[in-house]
Symmetry: C2
Subunit: 272 residues, 2 copies
């Protein structure tokens, strides 16, 4: 069983509730990788017997540090229309005998139909094939980056925090799960949070950081995801603005054939 | 009293509940302008006596058509930390004796501190001053665009649906409330939804559209907003991807001095 499938395995405990847990394979420096938490929140809706259609939009707010251990997910379809469905999902943990919300999410699902389609965002051109780019060295990193095969074309995680401020924080990279795993909505949600915080690329210095809010729009449906399989996808990320303790960054995930699979945006706390 | 202040006026009815209503000055073709609904949802948290700090992030999911009339807002602070606070907010309406959720929102508030700050997004250069650009003609438009002074430098709403497909959907415009009103978080939230659906700019043809999910990151704090006052801000918007009934668009709102006040992203349903 793939470690991501273990990490997002949830057990139904009542109509709207599921139990899950953090997984050591996706641990971060402290607590779990936020992408796995996002994937679990989405998975609670995906597994719900009343679910309609496929994910369109997911917003996850990280409300408190997630502790290693059990997580209780409450997933409620608050509005079901003919072809769309709206969800509120919460993650709860009990720490030191106190129960509290550690993350909230909203999700929109839909049954899609074919229409005129077009991509207006621009995929980076002249990017070498994944085989021609070396994999990022993950030795010494926390477990979660070891669960990804990342091949940076531009804007790699700095080998040293040399405090050489860069002109921008843009990254371009090929990435996939490691070991390989066929792309699905849960892994796409997790990949959306796998872009390193832009402030590290930009400033090359230590900073305390934490994602506050993460939004992903799923442009791919399951048929398109099936075409990707276990291949790499191309990720692009950049920051927009850093101000008074928070910055935002935006990312795109592209199929090798030039289809935009997902666009993703996040707001990140930082302390310099 | 400014019509926006009338539109976002809410009456506290219990600890977490407020009553409001749609306002004819912000009516759309059918139902209200979504930006006003977003501003009302944010306002419910802003007015809540347990509110901590200022808005950082707001995501609104439009779950069902909002009918003209009363709206019941339920705003719950689900997690309050030392300097951040997480909200789940719902808008309910009773239509034909049936009560239901018409919109959901999550919000993050925070007390900010000064840090290293930097803007990495690029404000359009060589944009003429607002006085040098004519105001968009609003005659014949629904009420809500008449509540804005929009001066398009590029990518105006098409004067006719001539079906001349454009190469892109990018718009650059000066905009402010009409009549003028000092910028605050509520009006910034509404402005974030004031970018016309990109598909109209791109395809110049009729389409059924509806915003499904809207996320805004507030980079400005109240001190910076006070510096803007009633002046125009510069808006930039573009689409990323159109596929199988949904497209996403992204926008930026800039101060005349080049500070990024907010970045905003939305997913829009369309039927061609």
């Amino acid at each position: 069983m793939h470690p991501l499938d273990e990490a997002i395995a949830l057990r139904s405990t009542s109509r709207h509730e599921f139990m899950g847990a953090t997984h050591p394979a996706y641990a971060n420096m402290v607590g779990p990788f936020g992408g796995t938490t996002a994937a679990q929140l989405l998975q609670a809706a995906l597994l719900h017997p009343e679910r309609l259609g496929e994910p369109l939009a997911l917003t996850v707010n990280f409300a408190a540090p997630v502790a290693d251990g059990e997580i209780r997910f409450v997933a409620r379809p608050v509005r079901t229309n003919r072809s769309t469905q709206h969800w509120i999902i919460e993650a709860h943990q009990t720490v030191h005998d106190t129960e509290g919300v550690v993350a909230t999410a909203t999700a929109v699902f839909a049954v899609r139909r074919e229409t005129w389609s077009n991509v207006e965002a621009v995929m980076p051109a002249n990017v070498p094939a994944p085989d021609a780019v070396p994999r990022m060295l993950v030795k010494g990193m926390p477990p979660w980056p070891q669960r990804y095969d990342m091949r940076f074309v531009e804007g790699a995680f700095p080998a040293a925090f040399d405090e050489q401020e860069q002109a921008h924080s843009r990254s371009t990279l090929w990435l996939r799960d490691e070991p390989p795993r066929a792309l699905d909505f849960a892994s796409l949600a997790a990949l959306s949070d796998s872009f390193f915080p832009r402030i590290y690329i930009r400033r090359r210095r230590r900073a305390m950081i934490g994602t506050v809010s993460l939004t992903t729009y799923f442009h791919a449906d399951s048929a398109l995801l099936a075409q990707i399989g276990t291949r790499h996808v191309l990720g692009v990320a950049k920051a927009l603005n850093y101000r008074h303790g928070y910055f935002d960054q935006t990312g795109e995930l592209w199929s090798p054939e030039g289809q935009l699979l997902a666009s993703t945006h996040q707001l990140v706390y930082f302390k310099d």
